[in-house]
């Protein structure tokens, strides 16, 4: 829950608050940019202070020093469409896909409104990611979440959904364990913890990349699967081969921030242990949510991943046998 002086957020920007016309409810103006205004920064720091409040920065106007877990929209703004989500107020519409999310299928979207491909992607609401996607207005979709009790993160309300990713009022939101620094100082031990709910969330707009009838039901897959258990066999047993496990835990692998996995259940604390056969491949194993320096919002440069040359990193964190 946000704490601190009201003014620092609510009257920070000119025109943000405007006197209501007589008889009309008080309304914020600049609603389409208000999220961005608070969560952006002119300098490279990705956690900024507004009064006493620590605010995670999702859009840096200069190259961010340490992008947070979701990445940074700086990259899509500066380097173009392939580097991030084209969010209204930050980046212009995607030249290839327009407003339509790749793989979108109305029948798979739980939103009663659905994604409007005549309007741009927003931070929140029916055309966005955060808040209640049964509400079109981004501002209204997330209204009150910042000031609500956000524990436990059980997906019951927007505030109690992981990073306010509620999906819809009637559909359970994303669950997970939120790193208090949004990944700013993440390590293999200290990081967000994800659950498969994040995959279902992504699939609300990108179902073609998730649904089994679109990607296949088992190996050999047609599209890279997500929401499947990291296999307890073969090359996957060596997940993150660059960081071997301690001798007393030979069956455990060490969590990689470059290819994180989801957990079947939300853990109480984050862990550096990864267990093939239990932990789960997710969309965020490869991608970041906002923007990255790499094409397709990947966590690494796909163009630099090579097979058969004893390389490491990227795809080879899981596909360890391909690098040998």
């Amino acid at each position: 829950m946000v704490v601190g002086d009201c003014d620092v957020c609510h009257s920070l920007y000119p025109g943000m608050m405007k006197a209501a016309a007589p008889g009309k409810p008080l309304r914020y103006v600049l609603q389409n940019s208000m999220c961005v205004s608070c969560h952006s920064n002119a300098d490279s720091n990705t956690i900024k202070m507004l009064g006493g409040a620590r605010v995670p920065v999702v859009y840096s106007r200069v190259k961010p020093d340490r992008p947070l877990s979701g990445g940074n929209f700086y990259y899509v703004k500066v380097f173009g469409d392939r580097r991030g989500h084209n969010v209204d107020g930050i980046a212009s519409p995607d030249a290839k896909n327009g407003f339509m999310p790749p793989g979108y299928d109305r029948s798979s979207d739980p939103s009663t409104i659905g994604f409007n491909d005549k309007k741009p992607l927003a931070c929140a609401g029916s055309n966005g990611c955060h808040g209640d996607r049964n509400i079109e207005n981004p501002f209204a979709a997330i209204l009150g979440a910042h000031h609500s009790n956000d524990f436990p993160v059980d997906g019951s309300t927007t505030a109690r959904s992981y990073r306010f990713l509620k999906r819809t009022a009637k559909v359970k939101g994303v669950t997970g364990l939120e790193d208090k620094d949004w990944g700013y100082s993440a390590s293999s031990k200290k990081h967000n913890e994800y659950t498969p709910s994040i995959n279902r969330f992504c699939a609300d707009c990108h179902s073609g990349l998730y649904r089994r009838d679109k990607i296949g039901r088992a190996s050999p897959w047609f599209r890279h699967p997500t929401g499947i258990v990291l296999p307890k066999r073969g090359e996957y047993l060596k997940y993150n081969p660059d960081v071997p496990p301690p001798p007393d835990k030979p069956d455990v692998r060490i969590y990689s921030l470059d290819a994180p996995v989801a957990r079947p259940e939300v853990p109480a604390v984050s862990s550096d242990e990864v267990r093939p056969g239990t932990d789960i491949v997710m969309c965020l194993s490869c991608h970041v949510a906002h923007g990255s320096p790499n094409e397709f919002m990947l966590r690494w440069d796909y163009d630099s991943i090579v097979a058969g040359e004893e390389g490491s990193g990227g795809c080879l964190i899981c596909h360890t046998g391909k690098g040998e």
Binding site: R223, H224, D303, V306, K322
Partner: protein, 372 residues
Amino acid sequence: MSYGQGRIAMGKGLRAKDGERGVKWKDFHTLCSVFCALCSVLLILSFPSNIDARVKGKCKNCHSMHAVKPYPVLTKGGCLGCHAQDPSGTRNIIIIGKTRIPQVIHHMDNGDLAGGNFYYVSDDFNPDYSKGHNVLGISLQEQPPMDVPPGFMGNVVIPGGTGPAYWPQQQQLTCAGTWGCHGNRTIENPYKSIYGAHHTDDSVIDGSTVGRSYRFLYGIKGKEHKNWEYQATTDDHNGYKGDTSYSTMDTISYLCGECHTRFHPNPNLGGETAVGDTVWLRHPTDIAFSSVHGGYAGSEFQAYTTYSLQAPVAYKNPTGRESIVDMDSIIMCPSCHRAHASPYQDMLRWDYTNSMLDRGDGCLTCHTRKGR
């Protein structure tokens, strides 16, 4: 200190005391020998034998994670997406970065690889179905009776298990899997049957896995020419495995016999009943020149002495470097045929219908007296 500097320093030290020169020279030679040996070892290690042992190159060259039109194993177009990238083009081997991809269909003059070229049967290029295998995605299925592999018998023993009990009427030939040639043929799904093979260390071809089988033909042994026999020579070519004992399943001819069962004398397959013994009923395969009727000595086969790329032979332990053909050399299916397709009928390596007697090649490479 560089390698050169090191050598100079050693020499100066050795010349320092003339009285010990003889001993020192001996030591010097010993040191040089050891040094050279070490250098040789290092050289060998720096160019390991598996230099092309597995697919190298960018993942993106072959795989697309979320393709608009998806293919199995996240490939860019399945088998043909990689191995038939540019059918109209003139490249028989396409090189993308460090990835070298042999093309099974192309339009390059004199560029057909060892397996031949599906160009001759491709529906895109005025096909003649008598010239090659009708593989799904390249050609339509042939009309009966050629919709079933000629000589097919069900339930034969194949590496990994048993072949299919029968060939369904609508079942077209595939690249791999039960209804194809490559991969583990006990697995029906072509992609599953060959799964992982491209990323396997195949520096040793022992047939133990698909990846370690000759050209991913499961169970088959051999030596793979690094350019798939493009610009092969009589002493640098594919090394085909043959075996005249009929007690193994690792020969290239056995692979053919898994479908064309009645053409192979192995008792697992057609056996003597189908191929013959004292009198051949069909042209034998996996037979050495030493086993010809009447004996090798004085036979016409003695005149075939230098390896022929047109009518190659197999060996019991092939190296791909054989240039000599002798009584132990083994006739195999690819002695006469191409695996994929050829410019000639019956996928032959030569024109059986025309002027062979005048040319003195083709069948006459082995049957040297028949042209006289």
